[in-house]
């Protein structure tokens, strides 16, 4: 089909200091990435990447970030990400770095990858856990995440019904 082709970069924000997440926002993050690109690749790079650049998804708790850029220049964005070393909040700088997990052509593939990735992480966490209480909690969340997969069909029907209600 005729469309603009994008690349989606699924990244993980890794930081020691939890406070850096306080005001993390898609807008702030976008500005940061843009600045970094401008710093690394100059005006040309900034201009080339500014078209179609967006932060599509952001989860503060897990630190997952989904960036979108045009297919032609995603290398520029990608290569600029390692130079993003800190987040700024109220004058304080919190050191951090980005870990690129996946580069995909659609949001969908990124989401699929993210599911796999998170499952793997949970299992690793479960294996490495020593504390009993925590072990229980993790167990539950793991089962829940798997459980939801089965329930999804049911939930879907519910949401569909509601959708029709709101439309009506």
């Amino acid at each position: 089909m005729v469309r603009f082709k994008h690349r989606y970069l699924l990244c993980e924000l890794v930081s020691d200091d939890p406070r850096c997440r306080l005001t993390l926002d898609d807008r702030v993050l976008g500005c940061l990435v843009r600045d970094t690109i401008a710093r690394v690749h100059g005006t040309f790079g900034a201009a080339a990447c500014s078209i179609g650049f967006a932060v599509r998804y952001l989860n503060v708790y897990t630190g997952i970030v989904l960036l979108r850029c045009r297919k032609e220049f995603y290398q520029l964005v990608w290569s600029a990400l390692p130079f993003l070393t800190y987040l700024e909040n109220k004058g304080h700088r919190y050191p951090c770095f980005f870990n690129t997990l996946h580069v995909g052509g659609t949001i969908r593939t990124c989401q699929k990858f993210l599911i796999q990735y998170n499952r793997r992480q949970l299992l690793i966490l479960l294996q490495n856990c020593t504390d009993e209480g925590e072990r229980d909690a993790i167990q539950k969340s793991v089962t829940r995440s798997c459980f939801l997969e089965e329930e999804s069909g049911e939930e879907l029907s519910d949401s569909d019904d509601e959708a029709t209600e709101t439309v009506a």
Binding site: R19, Y57, L58, L122, L125, S145
Partner: protein, 1021 residues
């Protein structure tokens, strides 16, 4: 617009996970806690930037939807998911502020929550595509969209739901029957009956509907124009061959009673001024058809009602008394309401007939039949015959077709005083019109006079008893033979124009379906028949004798029996197939139907000098039910069928006013003009402003309608202003005035000087005649000048009228002619023709018809093709000068006007835009309160004059004289031709100011052009 877009986007994004941030979480969480009344602490509200309103609504709905997530209580974590795939996660209320350290459990919870959000996003399709569209190409299969089983099994459930939804959206299957059942005859006729309830269908409707663009007009369904390209072909058919039209939608009113009473009553409605009336000798005997214009009783020349044609029933026997005469008035359906009311009041016929013995009254049968239809409608299984259905359908459509009338209303009225009975015979008869020279041969080939019944046998079950009765009478048999002979003679006449205008011939013919040719063929006039023998010459000279105008169609009983005893097409075909020798002539003997018909000659072009008799033809009147039986034979003889548009072309080439468009002074005409203006305006507004003419800049004040009232008022005041000034200059009165205006006329070399004495006598004669005619207007010459102002005041209250007095029209037409003045004068003798165009004669006109219009025809001198609503203008002197110097001169140009409305409209637009923007800004607070009042202000259309029209005549550089109502390139003449109305006062002003050689030259300008073209004006009497 943007709202819909937003909604669409929101729908698409509803399954997608949204951003989860800390800052957004707190506020929403607080508020919800508050709502819950300190209930469970949960739900970090997420922020959704895209959906504005829907999100708000959702938060409002929150209390209701809350119980659902609570059901997921088995999970110990407080991270629950909101339904919309959103993120409802939040740690405990107490530890929510800032996560100081990461515990494994919260980490795991966060991960789990994200997994489920993503899962949802991945597994659910985005809403604006169908299920199978989410599949990759290579997995798609044919007919997936309506066969669920072709999808992979995991998607079938979703697809099922979707399919159900789609079925709901689709229109309900209105037809509960299959195609075959619908085509079944009973159901079809039922369906047709249902569809005829709103608009009357002619009997040829189905035939027309297959070949014509149909329009719903005047309560009928009529064919407007053929779907094939046939403008020129129809014209050729009119001039060289034969054009057939179904005019059954014309209404017929029947008046029965004593001759003197009818004449007395109707004489109030017409005037001898406009031509022959109901009492004309030829018409009264029943020999000819007459046509005239009806006015409201004693209101001539104002309050016109409409043009009609009429036929008197001829007295069967010469010694017949004038006790019981029958008169048919044929009129256009738009005029029927007014004329019927007026005739009723004139004849004092207000008593509706419920049931009488003598009169064949269809009313009781109507009820009967109606109940029959109801019954048959109930009994679905019962098979109905087509004939039944036809009969049932007809009374129903007759009544309902009128819309305003309820079915129980009578359509016959009788007057106790005068004994006149009026009945409305609408749709009781069919009227077909054949136009063109070949109509004779078509008629003579298609119709064969009925064979006279000889034997006495088999009387018991013969349906056509009336014909047997007739055949017993030797007188009527001989009459039938004479009619037959004359009808045969007609085949030898090359053109219907040779027969005297309006000739009526009655006839009884056999079933025309029996001798239907195998193939459609062209009936050519037979040259052998065209010999110039004595009988033909006599026929042409004297017309059809009076007795032969008699027809049984006047007798309603016979018509009814003829309609009832029609053999079905089906039966006829069956009999044909049972013939021993296939293809041989079918002989039905006494069982053959005999149909009484009436042939009426229609005069073609009777006015003017060129192409006299063009477009003449015959009208055939048939009893109802027989329409298609005659229609197909005519077509099989080579008649081409035209619709309403062809009728319009016919009247245009005949230079006759079309009904009802060209009768601006009758109510139907005014209504028509109104509707036309509305339609044109709508059409105009549909175009973008840059792609449509700016009529303000073009100087066209009224591009869609013709403001006759304004026009005549303008001219009246103009002339009165002139007259006033001239009177001031010469207060001594009539004589000096006369002499004064004599001088300029004498000075022009072309005009022969008029002897003043003659002028005076003519003027006085004129005034006398006028006095005798118009008693209500005492305008003699002596008092005229003194009472000028009074007269003027009286005149202003008078309405618009169209000049139809033959005497005045003749005078005007003489004046219009540029060169042939002498010739005409010689022809018309000294009494009329010598009346020159002087100021006094003009004044007579102006006084008696201060606001009159006159029907004129214009032919363009050189290029240009006029359009309807073109303006007829007075040429300036330099135009005429230039034309005389350069015969190739096309005409002047109108300078471009300024558009004072454009800036206003633009400003308003700006303002509106600003308001809109502001409204959008504060829409949340204000809502819809501020919006509507400004918006409802009627916005002027760009390119049209808004508000009241300024001085109409003097708006452009050339004074406006009138408007064109019909105009096109005329294939008959080979140049542009137009028909229209001009103001009489304006015309007189124009004529008196022009030198005689160039008299009658005007300028024409279409509404969307700046170019004027020269045209010559003519008034044809």
């Amino acid at each position: 617009m943007s709202n819909a877009k937003e909604r669409k986007h929101a729908k698409k994004m509803r399954n997608q996970p949204t951003n989860v941030t800390l800052s957004s979480g707190f506020v929403a969480d607080r508020s919800i806690k508050h709502h819950n009344g300190g209930g469970k602490p949960f739900q970090v509200q997420k922020q959704e930037p895209h959906s504005g309103t829907s999100r708000q609504r959702q938060t409002k709905m929150m209390p209701h939807t809350q119980p659902e997530p609570n059901m997921n209580e088995q999970s110990s974590s407080k991270l629950t998911f909101k339904k919309k795939g959103g993120w409802k996660a939040g740690p405990d209320g107490t530890s929510q502020e800032i996560p100081k350290y990461i515990t494994a459990s919260t980490f795991a919870q966060a991960r789990a929550a994200e997994i489920s959000a993503m899962l949802k996003a991945v597994t659910q399709k985005s809403s604006n595509s169908l299920v199978f569209q989410t599949l990759p190409r290579h997995m798609r299969r044919r007919a997936m969209s309506h066969n669920v089983k072709r999808l992979p099994r995991r998607l079938q459930e979703m697809a099922q739901k979707e399919a159900e939804k789609a079925v709901h959206q689709k229109k309900e299957h209105s037809k509960n029957k299959c195609h075959k059942a619908r085509r079944c005859h009973i159901n079809r006729t039922q369906e047709f009956n249902r569809r005829q309830r709103k608009n009357i269908w002619l009997e040829t409707h189905i035939w027309h509907a297959k070949r014509f663009h149909m329009v719903k007009r005047w309560g009928y369904c009529l064919g407007e124009r053929p779907t094939v390209k046939s403008h020129r072909a129809c014209y050729r058919a009119m001039t060289n061959r034969c054009l057939l039209q179904d005019l059954s939608y014309y209404c017929c009113l029947e008046l029965k009673g004593k001759e003197e009473e009818i004449l007395k009553a109707l004489s109030q409605m017409c005037s001898i001024d406009t031509g022959l009336t109901f009492a004309a000798v030829h018409c009264l005997s029943g020999k000819r058809q007459g046509s005239l214009v009806l006015y409201r009783a004693n209101k001539y020349p104002r309050e016109m009602l409409g043009p009609i044609t009429f036929i008197w029933k001829s007295e069967g026997t010469p010694c017949g008394t004038s006790e019981n005469r029958q008169l048919w008035i044929w009129l256009h359906p738009t005029l029927k309401q007014d004329i019927l009311e007026e005739i009723k009041s004139v004849c004092q016929c207000l008593e509706p007939i419920r049931s009488t013995v003598g009169l064949p009254n269809p009313l009781p049968t109507l009820f009967q039949e109606k109940s029959q239809t109801e019954m048959t409608d109930e009994k679905i299984g019962k098979k109905r015959k087509r004939r039944d259905d036809e009969e049932i359908a007809k009374p129903i459509k007759k009544i309902i077709g009128d819309g305003t009338r309820d079915p129980c209303q009578p359509y016959s009225w009788i007057s106790p005083n005068t004994g006149i009975t009026i009945s409305d015979l609408t749709m009781e008869m069919n009227r077909f019109r054949l136009i063109g020279p070949l109509s004779h041969s078509i008629l003579t080939e298609a119709l064969k006079a009925a064979s006279v019944h000889m034997g006495e046998e088999a009387l018991e079950e013969i349906p056509h008893r009336w014909w047997i009765d007739v055949c017993r009478n030797t007188d009527s048999v001989s009459l039938h033979r004479r009619q037959e002979a004359i009808f045969e003679l007609l085949g030898g006449v090359t053109s219907p124009a040779e027969i005297p205008a309006g000739t009526i011939l009655g006839l009884t013919v056999g079933d025309p379906r029996i001798n239907l040719p195998q193939k459609r063929s062209e009936a050519l006039s037979n040259p052998e028949k065209c010999q110039d023998n004595e009988q033909v010459r006599q026929l042409l000279l004297e017309g059809v004798p009076v007795e032969c105008a008699h027809s049984f169609i006047w007798n309603q009983e016979i018509c009814k029996s003829v309609t009832e005893n029609k053999i079905l097409d089906q039966d006829l075909n069956r009999m044909r197939s049972e013939l021993l020798v296939p293809g041989s002539q079918l002989v039905l003997g006494p069982h053959e139907s005999r149909i009484p018909i009436l042939l009426i000659q229609q005069p073609g072009k009777v006015t003017g000098e060129d192409r006299l008799g063009w477009g003449s033809g015959w009208d055939v009147l048939l009893p109802k039910g027989w329409g298609m039986a005659f229609w197909i034979p005519f077509i099989y003889r080579g008649a081409r069928v035209g619709g309403l548009k062809e009728g319009l072309v016919h009247s245009q080439y005949k230079r006759a006013p079309a009904i009802p468009a060209d009768f601006p002074d009758c109510p139907a005409g005014a209504l028509f003009a109104e509707e036309q203006a509305k339609n044109l305006l709508e059409k105009y507004k549909r175009r973008p402003p840059a792609k449509r003419p700016n009529y303000v800049k073009l100087g066209t004040l009224a591009p869609f309608f013709c403001p006759w009232e304004l026009l005549t008022q303008d001219w009246e005041s103009r002339v009165w202003a002139q007259k006033g000034s001239s009177l001031e200059a010469s207060p001594s009165g009539e004589k000096s005035d006369l002499r004064r205006c004599e001088v300029p006329h004498a000075s022009t070399p072309e005009q022969p000087p008029q002897p003043s004495a003659e002028a005076v006598t003519s003027v006085t004669m004129e005034s006398e005649v006028l006095d005798t005619e118009c008693q209500d207007q005492p305008g003699t010459e002596s008092v005229m000048d003194q009472d000028a102002s009074e007269n003027h005041v009286a005149a202003t209250s008078s309405q618009l009228c169209v000049l139809r007095s033959r005497k005045f029209l003749k005078q005007l037409s003489t004046w219009c002619g540029p060169r042939s003045e002498d010739r005409r004068a010689a022809r018309w003798g000294p009494g009329r023709g010598q009346q020159g165009l002087t100021r006094e004669t003009c004044l007579v006109f102006v006084d008696h018809f201060p606001r009159a219009l006159v029907w004129v025809s214009l032919s363009l001198l050189r290029r240009g093709s006029p359009e309807p609503h073109s303006m007829i203008c007075v040429p300036a002197e330099e135009d005429l000068l230039q034309l005389s110097q350069d015969p190739q001169y096309c005409g002047p140009q109108e300078p471009r006007h300024n558009d004072p409305f454009k800036s206003v409209i633009l400003k308003q637009k700006e303002k509106k835009k600003m308001e809109k923007r502001q409204n959008r800004g504060c829409a949340a607070s204000k809502g819809l309160v501020a919006g509507p009042p400004e918006a409802r202000q009627e916005a002027p259309t760009l390119g049209l004059w808004s508000g009241t029209l300024p001085g109409l005549t003097s708006h452009c550089s050339r004074a406006l004289l009138g408007f064109v109502t019909q105009g096109d390139f005329s294939m008959a003449v080979g140049c542009g031709e137009a028909l229209g109305f001009v103001s009489v006062t304006g015309l007189l002003d124009l004529l008196s100011s022009q030198p005689a050689a160039e008299r009658g030259l005007v300028l024409l300008r279409p509404p969307a052009s700046l170019q004027y073209r020269f045209a010559r004006i003519a008034i044809e009497v």
